[in-house]
């Protein structure tokens, strides 16, 4: 399916259609939606304990507060809903069901135990404070390593040693090849627990409609999966629930979940036939939106004296939190970390054991990059260590191990196919852009220049994008389809309406999908309008997460566009008395090749298709000018990039400054370079935050100690450098359109590159940096102890 001879909209830096309204403050988020008169405001009572029995709940004072409509406990609502159950058909996984409102027991601080419905949010909040819950506090398992020891408190009685998922893998020749390497290095890499922290917290507005239906406005990335999840857990048909996604102020995977609050709000709307509204505050957001990346990699490589890796083995622990989230469950970080760690490197002999550990902390989920930032940090950190060990430049170690053009298509040790890529080219281009060789030449042995340690770090990464149905089947995720779809119609006026199965949280879909349609349909882009995020009008699909829309939705849109373009060609050929092959469709007209004044407009073609004129359709042609197409993309479409970062670490206070950050990115065929750059900017900013400051801190009792943005540090403009981005385009050949996903790459590449740059800066004084976040206190203590050791020598 080739693009029409036309257009050239794909590849253009078109301004985002979304931005005018958003920049003028005319966006409409959940909290901006018009509130109906008899609205009830919902608020949740959250557990202050990480692990406790609920002995009693006294709601009498709250009930008698004027303006309070009702108070419900978990026990009251249990008959209205099934426990949230995430089915994963994967050996080693054990489900850990969650009651949307806990009863009997709470398993993390922030777990919801009761709700108030009131006339306004203030009263609801006051009523919350009047509810007295009596708990019997139980010992908590918080740290992953402690939690899997025998005798640790159990999060779920049926899950022994809190191992909620266990995976393992070994290539046939592993033992022999691993033993054959002349050198070995073992390292432990640790990443801090972080969260997506979207600017707009979550919220929903449920409106009763008709006799037994609701319209459910919610700040989500996955309208279809939310609808299906609500229908299933509330015992309703999908037809009784319409999910509508308003403007969403950031998703990052945080909103690719069905959350208990949504189940409760929908259940109460069905029960009471009253509109229900809930918008979380920042504390709730930090306590209860999925967390991620409390990961521990014990990685060992075996390698030859030339730096070539012979074999690699990994033990990975990921912290699942208290429950398996819906619909992704608690296995993705574990399987992802252990399978994607191979990156663009020729590692043929590999063995892993990986564990997802349940703890009495907020459930973990699929935050941007999932396990890729952490596993690339381990992999790329290990390549640097090989270089330092052998005295080979780290860039050269990568060149000796990276998959070459002659290796393509490459299949990894765990069986993932890379069809096309530019692993060496991105690396070389990025090194050249930052002036790597000069940097190294100028860098003194102790790395110290003017009181600051200077270092440069590399991450040469892969990003798994646009996973199709076979990928989700092989990962066992029962409720995850993998396909996406588009329904395209040329209206009777000649304008084009395209409904796609996705939902946007800032990705610019309205612009990029219009670019694809304009090219493949041959439409004038001004006439193309994209609709998404509403289950009443958007066709079924897997929605928007894991860098999938361009790949999966792009393919569906190409299919629908091509189909309708073919019909336009046939109709035009019939009228213009030419052969369909000789008809060119371009910019909203169909003309005979070489004779541009012999043409029909889309409007004229549409009038024929809709029987609105005297000209009849060609024989055998159906009415209408539309197509609905599904697309199942390849198992996975692998994008890649190289990040090279130069930093200074202040020797006095351990503060890191990023001097330069170069990205050479390859997401195949670029639809809109400006939007791709924007995705890289946002992701890289989050990667820098995760590398240098972000961390959710739990104490040993499971108390979250920083549930405010004063204490959970996010990077600001002051911390973010100017990103120097360039692109190499290596289109995928396995999928339609040549597109590869780009949503997560910025984060995946930035985190390891910053870590390696800091590690490089401090390598001159013999310091080993192997964990994030690298806050000043951590780096300062490393520098101080290195100085003390140096002094002792």
């Amino acid at each position: 399916m080739q693009a029409n001879e036309t257009g050239g909209y794909i590849g253009k830096r078109l301004l985002r259609r979304e931005d005018e309204a958003l920049l003028r403050g005319r966006g409409s988020y959940v909290d901006d939606l018009a509130e109906p008169q008899n609205l009830l405001h919902l608020a949740f009572v959250m557990s202050p304990h990480a692990h406790a029995l609920i002995k009693s709940i006294d709601t009498s004072a709250a009930r008698s507060l004027p303006g309070v409509f009702a108070v419900y406990t978990g026990e009251d609502l249990a008959p209205l809903m099934k426990p949230i159950h995430t089915e994963i058909l994967f050996p080693g996984y054990q489900a850990a069901d969650r009651n949307a409102l806990a009863y009997g027991k709470v398993r993390f601080v922030g777990e919801q135990v009761a709700v108030v419905l009131a006339e306004d949010r203030y009263i609801a909040q006051d009523a919350i404070d009047l509810i007295e819950v009596e708990y019997e506090v139980l010992p908590a398992a918080v740290d992953m390593e402690e939690a899997r020891k025998p005798g640790a408190p159990l999060v779920h009685d049926h899950i022994e040693r809190n191992i909620i998922f266990e995976g393992k893998f070994e290539t046939p020749e592993f033992e022999r090849e691993f033993a054959a390497g002349e050198h070995r290095i073992r390292e432990r890499f640790r990443t801090g627990r972080v969260a997506g922290v979207p600017m707009e917290p979550r919220g929903c507005l449920a409106l009763p409609e008709h006799s037994d239906a609701i319209v459910f406005h919610t700040s989500t990335q996955i309208q279809h999966l939310v609808r299906e999840g609500l229908a299933h857990h509330l015992g309703r048909s999908e037809a009784s629930i319409r999910v509508v996604v308003p403007d969403v102020g950031g998703g990052f995977g945080t909103k690719a979940q069905l959350y208990p609050e949504e189940v409760v709000a929908a259940a109460l709307c069905f029960k009471l036939r009253r509109p229900i509204k809930w918008v979380q505050d920042r504390r709730e957001e930090l306590l209860t939106n999925i967390h991620a990346r409390d990961h521990l990699y014990d990685l060992e490589v075996s390698f030859s004296s030339d730096g070539v890796i012979r074999g690699m083995q990994l033990e990975l622990l990921t912290n699942a939190g208290a429950y398996s989230t819906y619909p992704f469950g608690c296995t993705l970080e574990t399987t992802g970390g252990s399978r994607m760690i191979l990156g663009p490197y020729r590692i043929r002999n590999y063995m892993y054991r990986s564990f997802s550990i349940a703890t009495h902390t907020n459930p973990a989920g699929v935050y941007r990059g999932v396990a890729q930032p952490s596993c690339m940090m381990a992999m790329e950190g290990m390549l640097d260590r090989i270089g330092r060990y052998l005295g080979i430049d780290p860039a050269e170690v990568r060149r000796r191990n990276v998959v070459q053009a002659s290796d393509m298509p490459w299949t990894t040790a765990v069986g993932v196919r890379f069809d096309t890529g530019s692993y060496q080219q991105c690396l070389d281009k990025a090194l050249e852009a930052i002036g790597y060789d000069e940097f190294r030449r100028a860098q003194p042995r102790d790395r110290l220049v003017d009181g600051k340690y200077r270092g440069v770090g590399i991450c040469n990464m892969t990003e798994f994008t646009g996973m199709g149905a076979p990928a989700w089947r092989s990962r066992g995720l029962k409720r995850m389809s993998g396909i996406d779809s588009a329904a395209l119609r040329v209206e009777a006026t000649g304008k084009v309406t395209v409904s796609i199965s996705h939902a946007a949280a800032g990705q610019g879909h309205l612009t990029t999908f219009a670019q694809i349609v304009a090219d493949y349909l041959g439409a004038n882009i001004e006439d193309v309008r994209i609709i998404e995020g509403d289950t009443a009008v958007s066709p079924y699909g897997t929605n928007t997460f894991a860098s999938r829309s361009a790949v999966t939705g792009g393919g569906a849109v190409i299919r629908a566009s091509t189909k309708v373009a073919d019909k336009i060609r046939r109709i035009a050929a019939h009228v213009l008395e030419a052969s369909p092959q000789d008809i060119v469709v371009r910019d909203g007209y169909a003309h005979v090749a070489g004779v541009t004044d012999l043409r029909l407009s889309f409007r004229e073609v549409a009038e024929i298709a809709y029987a609105m004129c005297d000209v009849s359709l060609p024989e055998g042609e159906d009415f209408g000018l539309e197509a609905s197409e599904y697309y199942d993309p390849p198992v996975v479409t692998v994008a890649n990039a190289a990040h090279v970062v130069a930093v200074t670490v202040d020797a006095r206070d351990g503060r890191v400054t990023i001097d330069r950050h170069v990205v050479v990115h390859d997401c195949g065929r670029v639809i809109n370079p400006m939007i791709v750059d924007g995705q890289i900017h946002g992701g890289a900013a989050q990667g820098i935050g995760e590398a240098l400051m972000e961390e959710m801190v739990y104490d040993e009792n499971g108390q979250l100690l920083n549930a405010s943005l004063l204490d959970y540090l996010l990077p600001t403009a002051m911390d973010i450098p100017n990103f120097e981005i360039s692109h190499i385009e290596t289109p995928t050949i396995d999928g339609l359109g040549g597109f590869k996903g780009v949503g997560e790459g910025g984060l995946i590449g930035a985190l390891p590159a910053v870590v390696n740059a800091v590690a490089d800066a401090l390598s001159g004084i013999g310091v080993n940096v192997n964990r994030v976040p690298m806050r000043p206190a951590y780096l300062r203590s490393l520098i101080r102890s290195a100085a003390a050791e140096g002094g002792a020598r």
Binding site: V109, E132, R283, D699, N706
Partner: protein, 152 residues
């Protein structure tokens, strides 16, 4: 959270010990104490209003005395529920010794907070605790030295 300190009091060990076991003295010395009553010989029930940064709460809880060594010291175990604001619990070992004409009071205290207090108050909790402690000892010192003056 740990808090260890010592205070010199201008009063005899007997006076200090008496004050440490006197309901009214304790009530007057504890900042924000609204109610205090004896449940049994070794347990008090108290209501204390407190504020940590943006979180203010009325804690209802118990204070229990153990390892009592008359004139020398005791261990206090406290537990307070502040409703939706969270909870606090902990213990403190208090030891007395002669210090010139007066008394040296040493304490070692461990406390834990949970819920909203921990979530948004952690950054402030140490300074609030040490401020509360110093306020307590200011008031307590005032009471005992006054008593001592009267006795003299």
């Amino acid at each position: 959270m740990q808090l260890n300190n010592e205070h010199h009091l201008e009063a005899s060990r007997a006076k200090v010990w008496e004050a440490l076991n006197d309901l009214e003295t304790l009530k007057a010395s504890i900042p924000g104490c609204e109610q205090m009553e004896r449940i049994d010989e070794r347990t008090l029930r108290a209501v204390v209003k407190s504020r940590v940064g943006p979180v203010s709460a009325r804690f209802t809880g118990t204070v229990a005395f153990s390892d009592i060594e008359p004139m020398c010291g005791y261990t206090i175990t406290f537990k307070g529920e502040g409703g939706m604001a969270g909870f606090a619990s902990g213990n403190a070992r208090v030891d007395l010794s002669d210090d010139g004409d007066g008394t040296l009071l040493r304490y070692e205290s461990k406390a834990q907070v949970g819920g909203k207090l921990a979530q948004i108050g952690s950054r402030l909790i140490d300074s609030v605790a040490s401020k509360t402690a110093s306020e307590f000892f200011q008031r307590f010192a005032a009471v005992v030295s006054q008593d001592q003056a009267k006795a003299d």
